[in-house]
């Protein structure tokens, strides 16, 4: 991990939110995604596994995507989801949790154009 704060996060909504059309929800999370296979220090010890194992993207508190990530995902993962814009807008939020118990969340208002 070479970012300064532990886990900065960027949530963006791509496209004009028009009712019945799709928008893209993009999430960029700063996370080392340590596989647990690498050797650190003097080469005798394994660096402990630390993977974001659970990501939930919610719309108005209702899950629209639940993802289980594995060791194949690179550091600083980028996740993209398409959703249909409902009649009323609402709050898009994301929550994640990793193997070592660290958590993060972000939210953004989806305002219908």
């Amino acid at each position: 991990m070479a970012t300064l704060n532990q886990h900065p996060i960027r949530l963006s909504i791509i496209g004009t939110p028009t009712v019945g059309k799709e928008v893209e929800i993009r999430v960029l999370i700063a996370h080392p995604m340590e596989t647990g296979y690498r050797l650190g220090g003097d080469g005798n010890e394994r660096i402990p596994k630390n993977i974001i194992d659970n990501i939930v993207i919610k719309f108005n508190q209702e899950p629209i995507m639940i993802a289980k990530l594995g060791t194949g995902i690179a550091a600083n993962p980028l996740i993209s989801v398409f959703m249909e814009v409902p009649v009323k807008g609402g709050m898009v939020s994301i929550e994640w949790k990793d193997d070592q118990g660290a958590q993060g969340r972000a939210e953004k208002m989806l305002v219908v154009a």
Partner: protein, 255 residues
């Protein structure tokens, strides 16, 4: 016969054009795949934006008191490295990260490595703010400093053409003579310094020029100089001078 001569003339004309085309200096971005270029240009896809966001916070909390304007401070990005005199006869070249380390130690009383997260974050932030400026490495006016500066330039020019490592390769053999060809699955780009620090997917993080140059030394299986060594600083000066007048690309994505 006349037709043949005509064809030969055309052929030489084309060859002359090709060699002219190589003289045009290209930024490393020219050699990115369209997908990666798109990822670099879109902040919602580019992992570097995580660093830029944090740099903004760091700037507000640590730097703003002394440096009033980001755009003024960012001009240093295209002007460094510079010669810093310690006494009349000695001194050293410092790059922008050394300068940030210096500022950091004045501000907090702690000396940290030039690739510490704080330093890289600030370097990425300033590099982003310097986007669109032209690289401007000026020869110093002061005759004493000018002498040291020129010594460093000629030292670096020698390193650049010196064969080294078990592969017995010099920088110029790839980065001037084999531009655009494949080196394994990657494309060799010319050695111009217009977009550092870089986020490399193979590193899975941000790294500075020292790390990139050390990887070059390791690639030709030569003795790798320590991070921040005078050899690397001299090379940085030489590469930046080669890129004089080119557009600064800001922090960049690489494979």
């Amino acid at each position: 016969m006349k037709l043949f001569a005509f064809k030969v003339t055309i052929f030489f004309f084309c060859v002359a054009n090709l060699s002219l085309a190589q003289v045009v200096r290209q930024s490393g971005n020219t050699f990115l795949s369209p997908d990666m270029l798109r990822q670099q240009q879109d902040p919602t896809l580019n992992p570097l934006s995580l660093w830029i966001d944090q740099g903004q916070d760091l700037w507000k909390s640590q730097c703003q008191e002394c440096h009033s304007s980001v755009s003024e401070t960012a001009k240093a990005i295209v002007q460094f490295p510079v010669w810093k005199s310690i006494s009349a006869s000695s001194g050293k070249l410092i790059n922008i990260e050394d300068q940030i380390v210096d500022c950091w130690s004045k501000k907090t009383g702690k000396i940290i490595a030039n690739d510490a997260p704080e330093i890289l974050t600030m370097s990425v932030f300033l590099s982003d703010a310097a986007k669109g400026l032209l690289v401007q490495v000026r020869e110093p006016q002061d005759p004493m400093i000018k002498k040291h500066w020129q010594e460093q330039m000629s030292l670096a020019a020698q390193i650049y053409v010196r064969r080294q490592g078990r592969l017995n390769l010099s920088c110029t053999q790839c980065h001037d003579q084999q531009i655009g060809k494949n080196l394994r699955s990657d494309v060799v780009s010319p050695a111009f310094l217009t977009g550092f620090p870089i986020y490399r997917f193979s590193w899975q993080t941000v790294g500075n020029l020292d790390r990139r140059l050390r990887a070059c030394y390791s690639g030709v299986q030569a003795t790798v100089p320590a991070s921040g060594s005078p050899e690397l600083r001299a090379l940085e000066l030489f590469l930046k001078k080669r890129s004089e007048g080119m557009l600064w690309d800001g922090p960049s994505l690489r494979r």
